[in-house]
């Protein structure tokens, strides 16, 4: 799913395949390049395989394998990825607090409307993507 997108690439880390597909479709429609991962391990593998750093990461928290909290910790430990903005999209009841804890740029509580999702991704990618 990797392509040269005018607005930059978005890494979507979400264990639910339906949500991954919906997020991917709508963001691709908005002109973002899409990378999909079902958990933290897959996300790290994708990041390491690509020389290009994504403009933002859309991150779920509760996932089997490596969860969102662990992935955020690993990203902060690596110079290359530590400044990539994270937007947390989770059903967690304290999603706002958790987002602050892992240093995310912003957060959305599931279920989200696609308009708000697009707005949040544009906001996070604006410095890299240029015209929003």
């Amino acid at each position: 799913m990797v392509n040269r997108a005018p607005r930059g690439d978005v890494l979507i880390v979400e264990d639910d395949p339906a949500l991954r597909e919906v997020y991917g479709e709508v963001l691709a429609g908005e002109g973002f390049g899409i990378r999909l991962a079902a958990n933290g391990h897959e996300a790290l593998a994708l990041l390491s395989a690509e020389p290009e750093v994504p403009c933002m990461i859309l991150l779920d928290l509760r996932m089997p394998g490596m969860n969102g909290w662990e992935l955020a910790d690993r990203l902060r430990e690596t110079a290359r990825w530590q400044d990539v903005p994270i937007v947390v999209v989770a059903a967690h009841y304290l999603v706002a607090d958790e987002a602050v804890r892992i240093g995310a740029a912003s957060w959305l509580q599931k279920p989200v409307t696609l308009d708000r999702l697009v707005a949040a991704v544009r906001g996070a990618c604006a410095p890299l993507g240029g015209a929003a």
């Binding site: 639910d16 339906a18 949500l19 919906v22 997020y23 479709e25 709508v26 429609g29 059903a91 967690h92 009841y93 304290l94 999603v95 706002a96 607090d97 509580q109 599931k110 279920p111 989200v112 409307t113 696609l114």
Partner: protein, 574 residues
């Protein structure tokens, strides 16, 4: 004996109903007779109160029939014959708390010593029968012409029945106040056990039936702590089997069991081995009552009382009082269990709601997402049927949106009820517009009420829109619900200092003054949760949400005049 016999004259009965003066009555009426010494002796002998005469050396010289019977003798002579020491050995003298009383403290002794003494309450136990008596004793010192004391007359008025009633009432009242505050029954049963020892029994033991683990000992009381330790050791080393023996029988039948005297043979038979037997002997298990703790026809445990002194063996006539105590203890155990179960059930329900609403979010998010995606495509499609498709998808998206709101409300309510915070999404909102939209919606629903909105200038705040709407919606619904006769509901949006205010004023039932302090502190109606409008937030939840947003809700109300609820929020940029 104030008057000499010569002052007492015989009189004959006169008939007729005319009112008479006292003087006339004295002369002509009454049953006056001159008493002979024998008659006076009879009077003394047969008097209802006990009367004794003790000489100055302390020996009993006279006792009437009531005195003899009070001391546990058939005939007065049996008592008078005995030397003082032997006579006193028949009794155990006690103070009001049941502790030994020295003989010198008796009113008669004090009168003898000091020349006079006030009347006093004396409690004593007849050793032979174990029977306990209370008497109000009034001593009088009789002197000769030179003023030398000759002997002491004591009159005893038996107040045993009165005292028993009084003690019963006190005991039950004390037990009631201990058990009434029971939040933790273990603690109150311990307190109850300590209260009945040593007055009612030397030992008090309470066991409670646990649904899974059998009998659990919750209280052991004895005046001597080393004996309590011994009892605990016995229980640890030789735990009682609830299927067997006396305890098993009481648990099975729900009937109290009275073992007036436990013989050495019975003790040996009950002991598992010699060491167990010697331990049991050391505990002093002489007389035992085992009462069931019963509530709602179930045996919840055992209330066991033990007396170590054979002379104080339990009697049948004590069972009603003891049964009453056990019944109260049973009710206390039952109540605290019910309270605990109810609290636990509410907690489980709230946890379930929180988890269920959380788990519903992911599939809902996907449904909503697919619908929105499809809608975007349908908008772009050139297909002539596209317009219809947009219509269907919009309707489905609207429904999914409503379902999402319901799930979100459910989650809010369950989080707030279990005291956890909710994740707010604050945005800038103009509360006048929000109020206008909600008032319009309510205007359409409630035709009997007249809604007035006063909103002069825009007031912008930072708030979670959906939650703020829920709070306001709740207040408008309440205004309608609690003014059943209809009338005006006035909504005023304004600002005061740096604070935005929305006031909702109705002219309904109002809130009783006593209810005002509790209005925001508890969830009044759990049934609201599944309400059609999906709020279920209640005033407690509303206040919690407003406070999490940096605002508050307050109320002023007069019963019968109506209520005004005021929602406040800090204004942006102030």
């Amino acid at each position: 004996m104030a008057k000499a016999p010569s002052d007492v004259r015989p009189a004959t009965r006169t008939k007729g109903r005319k009112p008479r003066t006292d003087r006339a009555a004295n002369k002509t009426t009454g049953h006056g007779w001159v008493a002979s010494a024998e008659q006076l002796y009879l009077v003394l002998q047969e008097a209802g109160d006990a009367i004794t005469v003790v000489d100055m050396s302390g020996e009993l010289r006279y006792a009437n029939k009531a005195a003899a019977s009070a001391m546990g003798f058939e005939e007065p002579d049996e008592a008078v014959r005995l030397p003082r020491k032997e006579l006193m050995a028949h009794f155990e003298l006690l103070d009001a708390d049941g502790r030994p009383l020295p003989e010198e403290a008796l009113p008669g002794r004090r009168a003898q010593r000091e020349g006079s003494a006030a009347e006093a309450l004396v409690r004593f136990r007849i050793r032979a029968t174990g029977e306990e008596r209370w008497s109000l004793v009034r001593p009088t010192v009789v002197r000769d012409a030179d003023g030398q004391p000759q002997f002491v007359i004591s009159s005893f008025h038996d107040v045993t029945a009165l005292k028993a009633t009084e003690r019963r009432l006190t005991l039950l009242a004390d037990a009631g106040s201990i058990l009434g505050k029971a939040v933790d029954y273990q603690e109150s049963l311990n307190e109850l056990a300590r209260m009945v020892v040593p007055d009612l029994a030397d030992w008090c033991v309470v066991d409670v039936v646990e649904p899974e683990s059998g009998l659990r000992r919750v209280a052991v009381a004895h005046e001597d702590p080393s004996l309590v330790e011994l009892a605990e050791e016995v229980q640890r080393r030789w735990p009682s089997n609830i299927e067997e023996g006396a305890t098993g029988e009481v648990l099975k039948t729900g009937e109290p069991l009275l073992l007036p005297i436990i013989s050495e043979e019975q003790l040996v038979a009950a002991a598992r081995d010699e060491e167990h037997g010697s331990h049991l002997r050391a505990l002093g298990l002489t007389s035992v009552v085992i009462l069931p703790l019963i509530a709602r026809e179930r045996v919840l445990g055992l209330f066991t009382l033990v007396r170590s002194d054979e002379s104080r063996a339990f009697r049948d006539d004590e069972l009603p009082l003891l049964g009453e105590l056990a019944a109260r203890a049973g009710t206390a155990v039952d109540n605290t269990r019910l309270l605990h179960e109810a609290t636990e059930a509410v907690r489980l329900r709230d946890d379930f709601l929180a988890i269920a609403s959380h788990d519903m979010r992911t599939p809902l998010a996907a449904i909503l997402g697919y619908l929105q995606l499809a809608l975007r495509r349908a908008h772009k499609a050139e297909d002539p049927g596209g317009q219809k498709l947009v219509e269907y998808l919009s309707a489905a998206e609207g429904m999914a949106g409503r379902l999402t709101d319901l799930v979100a409300d459910l989650m809010d309510v369950s989080l707030l009820r279990s005291g956890r915070p909710i994740a707010l999404e604050p945005v800038e909102i103009e509360i006048g517009l929000v109020a206008e939209r909600l008032v319009d919606a309510h205007r359409k629903l409630a035709r009997t009420h007249h809604f007035v909105l006063a909103h002069s200038q825009p007031v912008t705040v930072l708030a979670d829109l959906r939650r703020f709407e829920r709070v306001l919606d709740n207040l408008l619904s309440n205004a309608v619900k609690f003014s059943p006769a209809g009338g005006e509901v006035r909504v005023t949006v304004d600002q005061k200092g740096g604070t935005a205010r929305v006031r909702v004023k109705d002219h309904g039932l109002g809130i009783p003054k006593d209810d005002l302090p509790e209005l925001f502190t508890r969830y009044r109606r759990a049934s609201n949760v599944a309400g059609v409008r999906g709020t279920g937030l209640g005033l407690a939840g509303s206040r919690e949400i407003m406070r999490q947003m940096g605002g508050d809700i307050e109320v002023t109300s007069r019963e019968g005049k109506g209520s005004t609820f005021t929602v406040t929020l800090p204004i942006v940029g102030q």
